[in-house]
Amino acid sequence: MSRITPPLGVLLLACFFGWQVTNAQAGEALSQKPSLYIGIENNRRPYAYFTDKQQAQGLLVAVVTSACRQLELDCHFVGGLFNDLVQSLQNIKLNAVVVIDPSLPPEVDALKLTHPANIDRLKLTQPLCQITPVFIQKKLAQARSRPEDFKGTTIGVQEGSVFHSYLLANYGNLAHLKSYPLLESAIVDLVFDRIDAVLADEAFVSARVFESALDEYANLVVTPINKIGLAPTSMTLAVRDRDTDLLKQLSGVLTPTGKEPPCVELLATVPVKLAKK
């Protein structure tokens, strides 16, 4: 009996560890959710950006993360330039891309596509929030509001954005337009009087200028613009046109009512939490 005890013990231990490993693998298999890789631009505060610890954050990131949680998806955010992200989406390296405010080409825009627009084999969800264009400028005795008031001035705008195309169409003959890859650079130029005004979304102005007290520092004021027609390609999520199920699921969660609030309101109501990259 004493001779068979050690081998028996070893056998029992082996069975125990084997059982543990099997259980662990089974648990992992049970807890594993489907992954969704979503592309976001690296530095588009307050909509989508990465922190110093490389964690995705922002208004739209919070909305998408919330949707992923509802759909029980494990969302991973991947950073990059917008065009690269779109290519990665088309090459099936990503499942979706957050579209902040890129402009449609004029010929496509002229088709007056309704959502979901079919651009480059992509489809867009309904906007997650509504952009509110405002002019931010230095405090003057009489604030500029009408296009004629901007005659001879220099207006800064996000490069390739819907605001850019709007300015080209409506202010191109009046004012000098200066486009910036990063809108914050336009604000810096505005603060130091290198340009006269910046056209941007109210949420951006609220989060990046007014909450930081930069307006007091540089005497900046905001002038709202009357309702203008902008291309419907802002604040959406793009997926491949063949991923109809994913589009349907995301649309059902992201915009269940079809009435999107202004982004500046969403900025105040949606808690911006850390999200996994």
């Binding site: 530095n43 990063l182 650079s185 810096v188 930081s212 930069l214 007091e216 520092y217």
Partner: protein, 623 residues
């Protein structure tokens, strides 16, 4: 190779068999020829079947080498087939030659068939010749083309390898450059974002600094408010202390003892008790009417129109007093009291107690307040100035406003009274009787400290210098008057003149004490002492010659002469710097104030005297 015998009974059948064989060979040859043509035709696809199956990715050297070997093998096979075909053609040619010989040696009975066959064979022979010729040319061409193709293929392989290498290198460079551009763009964006964050930090710091500065300013403001509040409290305390000092004035007059003063008034009231009556009368008159006329809302700078009897809020709501009502009234009542006591002392026993009471009421209610409104209304409410003050007249301590006005008023009263009494000569030389005793002078000194400094702010650092100037001027006046009498007029009145000169110095310096330097104060006082003596002599010689008018002469010399000199000193010594040139504009204003005071007092004194004379028995006005 089968042979055809012309002697066989089946000659005809054998011939056709040979022809059939020949045709079969020709067919084989044509098939071979077709394949060769397909293989060597330049217009056909140069890419072998193997190459067509190869993907663009599989273009490495190994596969290229394999392709070349297969090409060579296929070419060898084609060459072999061509050689075989040529051999076959030669066999056919030989067979045809043999066949022709046998036909020639065949029987003549079959001429027709033989001719037909011969023609067919000739045609075949010709065709074969042509085919052979064509094949030879073709063979040469194929050989030439094969060599060219070999060379071309070699060149192409070399070019293809080089091109592929270049293309790959170019592709790698483009990919590298694209990555670099993306990285640089990302870095630029990061730097721009970092710059913006720096700007935000800067704005935040600026805002914090501003708030800190505002907080500091707020703290400073609070401290300043506390300091201002404390200074206000101290000022109020100082005014109350000045009230106490000013209240010593009646005590000085009570203690002014001389032989004349021991005599009672016309109605039997002791003179020192008459002081009390005067004080009560002037205080009531000043409170009920006088203060309102003096510091009420001005009517064109001529008279105050407010009444403070029912409360201190009698002025316009937009007017803010500089002082609290009660303490300022008490303080100003001291001036009115001083004026009334000057008049009381000057008139003395010529009036009854009741007359003095009425006179004191008048002084407190009208005489001092009206002129005081012209010269001093702005003291209580800055924007409520009287016309004389607006014209530039300055009288800080009341040299003219109180002392001169009272002195001229008393002079006129006494001068009018003197007209109704016969001249007399006092053998006791009453000139040597001082109007103010030593103790009275000391109390007047204390009182003068209150009168000259009561409205000064505690924070102005002027109070102590003003007090010092008052003391210096009084002392200089007293000493100068004493020395003048000691060395220029030999009599017993040295100390009397010294006491009078001291008070004259106090009166003179009152107008400009806060603005004088110490030396200037000494000069002002010294000159005042001389003026006292000279004024007394002149008054006694020309205006007040009666023995009972000695006190009046002293009073007028002290308060009238000292008052005029003091008011002039504002322009003479009040300018910045020590003994600088006088401010002539100010001098004109001062002269204007002095003249107005004189005129005002004379007019009012005559009016009052006239009113008193209307019922002199009732008030026992005149002795």
């Amino acid at each position: 190779m089968p042979t055809i015998s012309t002697r066989s009974p089946n000659q005809y059948r054998q011939s056709w068999i040979y022809i059939s064989l020949l045709c079969l060979l020709l067919c084989c040859q044509s098939v071979v020829y077709g394949e060769e043509k397909t293989a060597v035709t330049p217009s056909s696809s140069p890419t072998p079947a193997v190459e067509q199956k190869t993907t663009p990715v599989a273009t490495d050297k190994n596969k290229s080498a394999t392709g070349t070997e297969e090409d060579t093998e296929a070419k060898t096979q084609a060459q072999a087939q061509l050689e075989n075909s040529m051999d076959n053609v030669k066999v056919i040619e030989k067979t045809l030659a043999t066949l022709r010989k046998e036909i020639d040696s065949s029987k003549k009975g079959v001429v027709l068939n033989r001719a037909t066959i011969k023609d067919g064979l000739d045609q075949i022979s010709n065709q074969l010749k042509d085919a052979y010729t064509g094949l030879e040319g073709m063979r040469n061409n194929i050989s030439t083309n094969a060599l060219g193709l070999e060379k071309l293929k070699t060149d192409l392989s070399a070019m293809d390898a080089k091109f592929k290498d270049n293309l790959l290198e170019l592709d790698r460079k483009i990919t590298t450059n694209t990555s670099d551009v993306s990285s640089q763009k990302y870095l630029v964006e990061n730097y721009a974002a970092g710059g913006y964050e720096t700007l935000l930090k800067m704005a935040e710091l600026s805002t914090k600094l501003e708030k800190l500065s505002q907080g500091q300013t707020l703290q400073n403001d609070q401290k300043q408010d506390q300091r201002i509040s404390m200074i206000k409290d101290l000022n109020r305390l100082w005014v109350l202390l000045a009230v106490v000092l000013v209240s010593l004035t009646p005590l000085a007059f009570v203690l002014s003892s001389n032989r004349e003063q021991y005599k009672p008034l016309l109605d039997g009231t002791p003179q020192h008790q008459g002081v009390l009556l005067v004080c009560l009368g002037v205080f009531i008159g000043y409170f009920i009417i006088g203060f309102g006329l003096m510091f009420g809302t001005s009517a064109g700078g001529w008279i105050g129109t407010s009444s403070y009897v029912l409360g201190e809020k009698a002025i316009e709501p937009n007017m803010t007093p500089l002082f609290a009502f009660a303490e300022f009234l008490l303080y100003q009542a001291g001036f009115a009291m001083l004026a009334a006591l000057i008049i009381y002392t000057a008139v003395g026993r010529q009036f009854s107690g009741a007359a003095h009471l009425l006179l004191a009421l008048f002084v407190g209610a009208v005489l001092i307040p009206v002129f005081g409104h012209w010269a001093w209304a702005g003291r209580y409410i800055t924007d409520n100035k009287g016309w004389l003050e607006s014209a530039g007249f300055i009288d800080t301590g009341g040299s003219t406003t109180v002392h001169s006005v009272a002195a001229w008023f008393a002079l006129v009263i006494v001068w009018q009274l003197s007209a109704q009494t016969p001249p007399s000569h006092d053998p006791d030389q009453p000139e040597n009787e001082p109007v103010y005793s030593a103790s009275a002078v000391l109390f007047l000194w204390l009182s003068a400290l209150g009168l000259t400094t009561g409205t000064l702010s505690i924070s102005s650092n002027q109070i102590e210098t003003t007090m010092l100037n008052v003391g210096l001027a009084g002392s200089a006046g007293g000493i100068m008057a004493f020395l003048h009498y000691r060395y220029f007029r030999i009599d017993r009145g040295h100390i009397t003149r010294a006491l009078g000169g001291f008070v004259t110095g106090l009166v003179a310096v009152a107008a400009s004490a806060p603005t004088l330097s110490f030396l200037e104060a000494l000069v002002v006082g010294a000159v005042a002492g001389i003026i006292h003596n000279g004024g007394f002599i002149l008054l006694r010689k020309y205006f007040l010659q009666r023995s009972w008018q000695v006190r009046t002469a002293y009073i007028v010399a002290i308060h009238g002469g000292g008052g005029i000199w003091g008011s002039l000193c504002v322009a003479l010594f009040g300018s910045k710097g020590l003994f600088t040139l006088p401010d002539f504009t100010q001098l004109v204003s001062q002269l204007e104030g002095i003249a107005i005071a004189l005129l005002y007092s004379v007019v009012l004194a005559n009016v009052v005297f006239f009113l008193f004379t209307l019922n002199k028995k009732r008030f026992s006005v005149i002795s």
